[in-house]
């Protein structure tokens, strides 16, 4: 199995979720994160002092998927999350040794 981790722009969540549903993937875990990279943060003003907020709100999606599915999942996320503007984010894949569904104790791909 693979763990697909994607960092995306928050307002793209709905599109990504729909794209994943369309290829039959539903299970995922999402965290609100702050990104840092090429995309610059915005400037804020606080009683006349200006400062740059270096971090940009992003969402981080994690999906454990079957080896066979991982390329499709990555592709689906990629397409759905793309705006073409800087800061669209990343998707990376890492190996998973094992997975358990807590409710049933099922293991491996069955637990996805």
């Amino acid at each position: 199995m693979k763990l697909v981790t994607a960092v995306i722009k928050p307002f793209k969540l709905d599109d990504v979720k729909t794209a994943l549903h369309d290829i039959g993937v539903a299970g995922m875990t999402i965290a609100e994160v702050q990104g840092h990279g090429r995309q610059r943060g915005h400037t804020e003003v606080y009683r006349g002092a200006e400062y740059v907020v270096d971090f940009v709100p992003k969402l981080r999606l994690e999906l454990v998927v079957d080896d066979a599915d991982s390329a499709r999942v990555v592709a689906a996320i990629e397409t759905a999350a793309r705006t073409g503007q800087i800061g669209d984010g990343k998707v990376w894949t890492t190996p998973v040794d094992d997975l358990v569904r807590i409710r049933t104790g099922e293991r491996g791909p069955d637990a996805i």
Partner: protein
């Protein structure tokens, strides 16, 4: 001038206190509204309301007060500029027999103009330009609000002369803002994603802070409209309280039946709807009638807010549904429930006090006139601003959120990440 009037200190204490209470309603409204928007446009809502207080107060002092309450310029249509800049504003308002200093009255009325304009921020949530709205508000208070206030509130106004009854602003404030909100919603157009996306409130506790302040302030709004601390003010106060209560109950009962849940926002909205409905009536009806009017306001309110989804206009925070509908309900029911037992000064009695349908007719006329005037003129003013300096931000800004882009601020920073550096 003043020396010729009898100033009663108790009445003055009440009207000054009421003016303070009504002013407090606008920050309250700002909180009420800002809790209802998503976390990316919280501040835009707050600052639009604060700046509306500023702009409208200055315009009011400059000349809108005079247009509304100055000596009639002819036909009961508009006041002249005798009180412009609050000059001569220690002279009595023609036709009003006040026992309070005219400046206390001018202050009290100023706060009414402020909150009526501020209500419109709710319609434009998430997408309205800051400068554009302030320009709009300045024009609106002169073009739309001041004439209506003259017609209804000034004793020399043509609707007042016909005997239309509006104790504390059912027409001037509530229907006016509701009809104006509808026009503004049409000028602005829908939010990106509406009506598909839920756009749920980001902080209902903040909304309840605002609702509490509104409820509190409304005692000044309604009972202060007696312009004296007397039996009439007492009746207005208890009627206001009871209508808020039955409005709340009406709203959540309907909601419970329709969705299976009584909600917090529903309770607060129902209280506001009840308060709206009793606004024109509280100085003319008894306590039992107040309960019925408030209940009607709540029930009609919850039904009316659904209308926007069917009709397709994005009145974001439901000014039409709550203020417009509630104001119509209250204004019409005055025609039924007004009684000289409560207010011996009224010209015509309500239907249930033996007055027949005459007063109902006058009230209905006022409703139609107010809706027509407010809708049409607001649409014109809105288009004017839209076509010139612009009234709506770009879609890009709307998606990103007004707070960071327009106001260069974020509402909250609870965490440990955002901190930036100054001067790097």
């Amino acid at each position: 001038m003043l020396r010729r009037m009898r100033v009663d200190s108790g009445d003055t204490a009440w009207v000054l206190g009421s003016a303070a209470l009504v002013l407090f309603m606008t920050p309250g409204l700002a909180l009420f509204y800002s809790g209802m928007v998503r976390s990316k446009s919280v501040l835009s809502m707050l600052v639009q309301n604060l700046a509306t207080i500023a702009v409208v107060s200055v315009v009011w002092a400059a000349f809108a007060y005079s247009l509304a309450f100055g000596p009639d310029a002819g036909g009961g249509l508009i006041g002249n500029l005798h009180f412009a800049g609050l000059a001569h504003a220690n002279q009595p308002v023609p036709g009003l027999h006040l026992t309070v200093p005219p400046l206390a009255f001018a202050s009290f009325q100023m706060m009414f103009a402020v909150i009526t304009a501020a209500l419109l921020t709710g319609t434009g949530a998430d997408r309205m330009r800051f400068g554009g709205f302030l320009t709009f508000a300045a024009l609106w208070v002169v073009v739309v609000y001041a004439p209506l206030a003259h017609w209804v509130f000034a004793p020399t106004g043509w609707l007042a002369q016909r005997g239309v009854l509006d104790f504390a602003g059912g027409n001037v404030v509530e229907i006016d803002s509701g009809a104006s909100a509808l026009a503004l919603a049409l000028v602005l157009g829908r939010r990106h994603g509406w009506p598909r996306d839920a756009m749920a409130p980001h902080s209902l506790p903040l909304t309840i802070v605002g609702a509490g302040i509104l409820w509190f302030g409304w005692f000044g709004f309604n009972a202060g409209s007696a312009l004296a601390a007397n039996c009439l003010a007492s009746q207005a106060l208890i009627g206001t309280q009871l209508a808020a209560c039955t409005g709340l109950l009406g709203w959540i009962v309907v909601e419970r039946i329709r969705t299976g849940h009584a909600t917090t926002l529903g309770a607060a909205s129902g209280a506001v709807a009840g308060l709206v409905a009793i606004t024109p009536a509280c100085g003319f009806v008894n306590s039992v009638a107040a309960m019925l009017i408030g209940f009607a306001g709540g029930v009609v309110g919850v039904l009316a807010v659904g209308a926007k989804f069917r009709l397709g206009y994005d009145d974001s925070l439901d000014v039409v549904g709550v203020h417009g509908a509630g104001g119509v309900v209250g204004t019409l029911l005055v025609g039924l429930f007004a009684t000289h037992h409560v207010n011996s000064a009224i010209g015509a009695r309500g239907a249930f006090d033996g007055g027949g349908v005459h007063l109902v007719g006058e009230q209905a006329l006022a409703v139609v006139v107010t809706i027509g005037w407010a809708f049409a003129m607001t649409w014109l003013v809105g288009q004017l601003v839209q076509q010139t300096i612009g009234l709506r931000v770009s879609e890009e800004i709307e998606i990103e959120g007004l707070d960071t882009v327009v106001h260069a601020e974020s509402a909250y920073d609870f965490g440990n990440v955002r901190a930036g550096r100054i001067g790097r």
